[in-house]
Amino acid sequence: MPTTITPEAVERTVYEALPQFGVEETDITRESTFEELDVDSLDLAELSQIIEDEYGVALKGDDVGRIKTVGDAIDLVVSRGA
């Protein structure tokens, strides 16, 4: 069963996933852009997979183009679960 989507849960998932890609935990805020964090398309593909595995929500190609910040990613997942 997928985990229930709440803003807090999704934020926790994203914040825990990014350091696996080499991002410093202390650099992560809702406002930080993926570009600043050196998170590229391959990292976002992995992040999408982690989110889909956890919440059953898929982020596809077009979505990835739209999300610029950590907050964008969290909000998009939360909106999909609404």
Partner: protein, 396 residues
Amino acid sequence: MRREVVVTGVGAVSPLGNGARTLYERWRAAQSGIQDGVGACSEFDPTDFLSVKEARRSDRFTQLAVVASDEALRDAGWDGELPYDSGRIGCVIGTGIGGIGTLESNHIQLREKGPKAVSPLAIPLLMGNAGSAAVSMRHGLRGQSFSTLSACAASAHAIGTAARMIQAGDADAVVTGGSEAALTPLATAAFGALDALSDLGISRPFDAERDGFVMGEGAAVLVLEDGARARERGATILARIAGYGASSDAYHLTAPEKDGGGAIEAMRAALADAGVDAGDIAYVNAHGTSTPLNDRAETTAIKKVIGSDVPVSSLKSAIGHLLGAAGAVEAVATILAMRDRVAPPTLNYEHPDEGLDLDYVPNEARTLDVNGGPVVALSNAFGFGGHNAVLCLEVA
């Protein structure tokens, strides 16, 4: 006149440790990097050299290649700044299998959790050209880059092809070599199924009791440059790629020709390309796998092309068979040995085999007697599929 191709830097990660000089010095001292029947790079920890992101973006075979390339570029005096237009520097890194560890772990995910659990990084990590891609990106090399894939001849083909690129004027320098990291359950089981591996886990090339090869992993990278340009920039010239010869057995998927036919042609081609005679060869770095068939066929080939007096030894006796990385690792060790005028030993050699009667430099390194002149040596690499690649190396 053909452009001269010189070696200005070398790097290696091997079962004998990190670093090209470590590899050569430990081999010369007859130390073995084989433990429990495997030649693993046990001193190698990728996080010592690579960031979390770099390590995550690369299979182990790529990590080994990148670290060997860092050393080779430093050795060439390239650190910080490329000496030529980046578009004139190529990159050719060979491998036998590529990222098989990545393939296996993702296949487990596929079987256990389904297709959605397969990593988006699977293909970019397992592809055979990942090593050359990573080395080219790491150092900003924008000339042509690709990988050679010819089993255990792959990195000798890489070096030969790189030399040709310089000779043809397509590049002024090429970062080249090979890498392999196939100490995985599938690769080990598969070579075992072929009955290619030593049951006892002992690598003893040319010995009567040899019973197969020992698997190893590692990488080596060489910086090749146009000789005139290298001299112009004041580079230290470690060696010259004097000649290159390659051929195919067109005979069998795994077995060498019994009379060494394809190997003979490749060795002769390397001599002709270098413009040297058999009598000029002071040392042969054999492919010497420790399999019954290879060592016999290779002995026949060496006798026919060079004769019976030349010292012949096999690095595989000390580190096992590094598959696609073997040709490059062996070329690097050979160059450093020639600079010291040393023929390094064939370890574990105890029982002469009938008909295998060359001078295998058993168990102890020996000084090469070259009367103060340059040393010319051959380094052989032969692969499943009947691929043969031979380098003729000269050290002033």
